[in-house]
Symmetry: C2
Subunit: 270 residues, 2 copies
Amino acid sequence: MTFVSASITAIFSTKIDRDPKKAGSYGVGFTVDMGVEARASEKNGVFLNGERVSFPTVEHVLERLGGKGVDLRTRLPVSCGFGVSGASALATAVEISLQKGLNLPFFRLADIAHEAEVVNRTGLGDVVTQSFGGIVARVRPGSPSKSRVERFLSRAEVDFLVLGQMPTKEVLGDEVKRRSINQAGKKRLKEFLKKPSLENLFVQAKKFSLESGLADDEIVDVIEAVESRGGLASMVMLGRSVFALNGKGAFEEFGGDSFSARITGCSVRL
Amino acid sequence: MTFVSASITAIFSTKIDRDPKKAGSYGVGFTVDMGVEARASEKNGVFLNGERVSFPTVEHVLERLGGKGVDLRTRLPVSCGFGVSGASALATAVEISLQKGLNLPFFRLADIAHEAEVVNRTGLGDVVTQSFGGIVARVRPGSPSKSRVERFLSRAEVDFLVLGQMPTKEVLGDEVKRRSINQAGKKRLKEFLKKPSLENLFVQAKKFSLESGLADDEIVDVIEAVESRGGLASMVMLGRSVFALNGKGAFEEFGGDSFSARITGCSVRL
């Protein structure tokens, strides 16, 4: 079994390129001790929590490595900003390589997972964050082997409130939205790197969620409710979800599912 | 608590440089799920398994980061080739940075641990291997941030037999010995990278231990005993120790302590 962490993006700006190895994103994200477990399967295709599914990103990885099928297990919500597709792609790549004795370097596998995400438009930075682990600032975009990151370790527990899905393609397909996202993303990455503490990550991430126009009224209400109780919070990119330090009490006022997870520097485990 | 894995060097060649950031080694090593646990301490100095010790490599790290003291715990033998000093230095660096809220990037901490090893002549490559985790081929030497590696994941359990300590400084201080080590080390690294499987690691590592002149008669006897029972084995660099796949049965014929550990890609855990 191969486990890969969920990846939560706090700040980002997109880098579009025809070459999927060069496409990616700047930004800051972090990995937690919840994620996706993959087991190589004798049955053809992709199974998610026991059900056969259409999952083009993972199918791309299977095809590239000559894998037959994979069984994926996760308790995370899909399409809510937890990097489930990136974790699934990377876990599948590692699992198939081990099963088939391909002896491929880890970063070769990570690059294949990144390309699968870019080609299928399911993510631009999750696999990079997941390949390194911890709080990961992506200072040069691209596939894991081409990107450059600053990596920080932390012991914090983070609370999550999931309010719903967000249509990633629609948001990133809008030229005007993308411009304000990119402008805010670059500025907030720079401000985070000046003082790369966990607290400053929340401060800059919240500013990013407001300046980019991505946070809607309900998300802002949740963030403010956490802050009024002495916590820190921001929006999960891209999902209608909030991540917080000491957010549990405030979350109770709202609908949606909540859970907690610890930041981990070990995002790939066999 | 910060845990850092033991690091077993299978193949190496030295790169000496006045600048400790540029000094290091080429080679192949791997990390396992046994190692050193570090806890920041209110008492001054370095404590190893409860006893106050003189440990210049770790003291160097404490001084650089303004740490008072550290409590280290390990079940590994010291000076037998398990990278205990590197693991102690890196775990101390991470632990002190977290305790003091220094917010230093992980690779900055790893560089400090590497420099502490080089300056005190306790290691040239362990901290690089430990910073990445898994089976790590060091293809460009230097401190972790300056080095370049190829990293491979594996699920194997490895057996160890410890026959005694080896005087690292004496071995590496001998010009003639160092020349044959470096020549064999570069050749065997190249041969490993042609087919980076676990089996080939053992094949190339054994050739390295013979060609370099580092394996003595007893070590060769142990390796051959493992092979005659269908296993694979080579010498731990630099210690009078053997690592093996399926070595348990053969080890029983010899004196010395034995134990087993799994290769891990997660060599730093909080």
